[in-house]
């Protein structure tokens, strides 16, 4: 049999399977596994012979098919038969699910798309200046990360640099304490801990306070040895 393959037309191994099922007018809920497996393997061989870059995902499904086939060949013991699940069940579920989303994608793409079929006015962005009360235009966090990547690429810094999550947590805690102090001017360590009484919460609160004292943004006082520690905002004169 001659196969006319254009690999790019398949979105992946599941798409190829769906194509084979459609081509042979097979009931997706009752797949003749031997037939489908041999058809699928033939495609895989063809791809290999054409030296097409065969993604690992295609081989994974090939293995799954062979595994199901072997399980179907083993005659089930009578007493187990009722219990035993159809070896194809998992794959069928996956295929039906994929087919559903493939159709959903087609439906989505069938509407008039802004930027393809219809157009809105795109305004030149005016210079952004002005008050702090104006809302800020919706920006995604992805844009922020991309901006950071641009900067690092420009600076020639090692882009592999990992972000220190612990440092993030500490910065976070510092910000929270500053907000609290700005509102209330003075709080006790106990109050600062609030609901964050787990080990991590206590450690970060403590470290954040040390950092704030080092930055001379906060001062701590204790009236007697076992009394509450009171934290104040250190008012700094702008020079």
């Amino acid at each position: 049999m001659a196969y006319q393959i254009k690999l790019d037309v398949f979105e992946g191994p599941l798409d190829l399977l769906l194509y084979l099922i459609r081509k042979h007018e097979i009931d997706i809920y009752d797949i003749p596994i031997s037939l489908i497996t041999s058809q699928y393997m033939a495609y895989i061989e063809e791809m290999k012979s054409l030296n097409l870059d065969l993604a690992g995902e295609y081989l994974l499904i090939a293995a799954t098919l062979l595994h199901i086939k072997s399980r179907m060949l083993i005659p089930a013991h009578e007493e187990e038969e009722a219990e035993e699940e159809d070896p194809r069940a998992e794959l069928v579920k996956q295929l039906v699910e994929y087919r559903t989303f493939k159709e959903a994608a087609l439906n989505l793409g069938a509407v008039k798309l802004l930027g393809r079929d219809v157009f809105a006015r795109n305004m030149v962005d005016e210079a952004c200046s002005g008050g702090s009360d104006r809302p800020i235009r919706e920006i995604g966090i992805f844009d922020l990360v991309e901006a950071f990547r641009n900067v690092l690429a420009f600076a020639g810094e090692d882009i592999e640099m990992e972000v220190d999550l612990e440092k993030f947590s500490l910065s976070q805690r510092i910000n929270e304490i500053m907000e609290e102090l700005n509102q209330r001017k003075a709080v006790t360590f106990e109050e600062l801990l609030g609901t964050k009484r787990n080990r991590k919460g206590i450690i970060y609160t403590f470290l954040a306070l040390l950092e704030l004292m080092k930055l001379r943004m906060a001062r701590a006082f204790q009236a007697d040895s076992y009394g509450p520690i009171r934290i104040f905002l250190a008012v700094e004169e702008e020079k």
């Binding site: 979105e11 599941l14 996956q94 699910e97 994929y98 393809r116 809105a120 305004m123």
Partner: protein, 174 residues
């Protein structure tokens, strides 16, 4: 306010995103939201009956001036830009994100059976999806969802307007 309709028309015109009656009320004040809504509907049918080059379309929960479909070849030619192009891979990924959000990369890959990195990145760049947070499981994987822009581009008012997934329902019933 006797020239409400004019004001609303002009506001829709200068805005690059769809405007809701609620948003418009913030500008015109002293007018009932229902009254604004009524005027907007009137404007919408006026433009529709006019059969001109521009219409008013409801999308992303608001109203927006758009060019009519009939003229798109010339608009594309004028803009000399490429039209919004979404590959089948991108569309499938977008469909999974839209229907399953918030969703992790691994879930998208499970459904599609292939790596989803490039498709997700492309959709993020087109601002059709966004990072909505992290799942509270070990490794704290990133979760994705659709954007307001997605609603605008696909002319949906909200996510509930997505067509129901027929076969998923059938499968659940079995």
């Amino acid at each position: 306010m006797e020239n409400l309709k004019q004001v609303l028309e002009a506001l829709l015109f200068v805005s690059e995103i769809p405007l809701s009656a609620k948003k418009l009320k913030e500008v015109v004040e002293d007018v009932e939201e229902t009254c604004i809504e009524k005027m907007l509907e009137e404007l919408m049918s006026e433009y529709e009956n006019r059969c001109g080059g521009i219409i008013i379309q409801k999308a992303a929960g608001g109203y927006q001036f758009r060019t009519s479909e009939r003229v798109s070849p010339w608009i594309l030619k004028f803009k000399q830009g490429k039209p919004l192009a979404l590959s089948p891979a991108a569309m499938e990924t977008l469909a999974v994100v839209a229907y399953r959000q918030p969703v992790m990369k691994s879930e998208v890959e499970k459904v599609r059976g292939v790596d989803a990195s490039a498709a997700l990145k492309g959709l993020l760049e087109k601002k059709l999806i966004r990072i909505v947070g992290r799942k509270d499981v070990p490794g704290r994987p990133i979760m994705y969802g659709t954007t307001r822009r997605f609603l605008e581009v696909f002319t949906l008012n909200d996510l509930s307007e997505l067509p129901t997934l027929q076969e998923i329902r059938e499968l659940d019933e079995e």
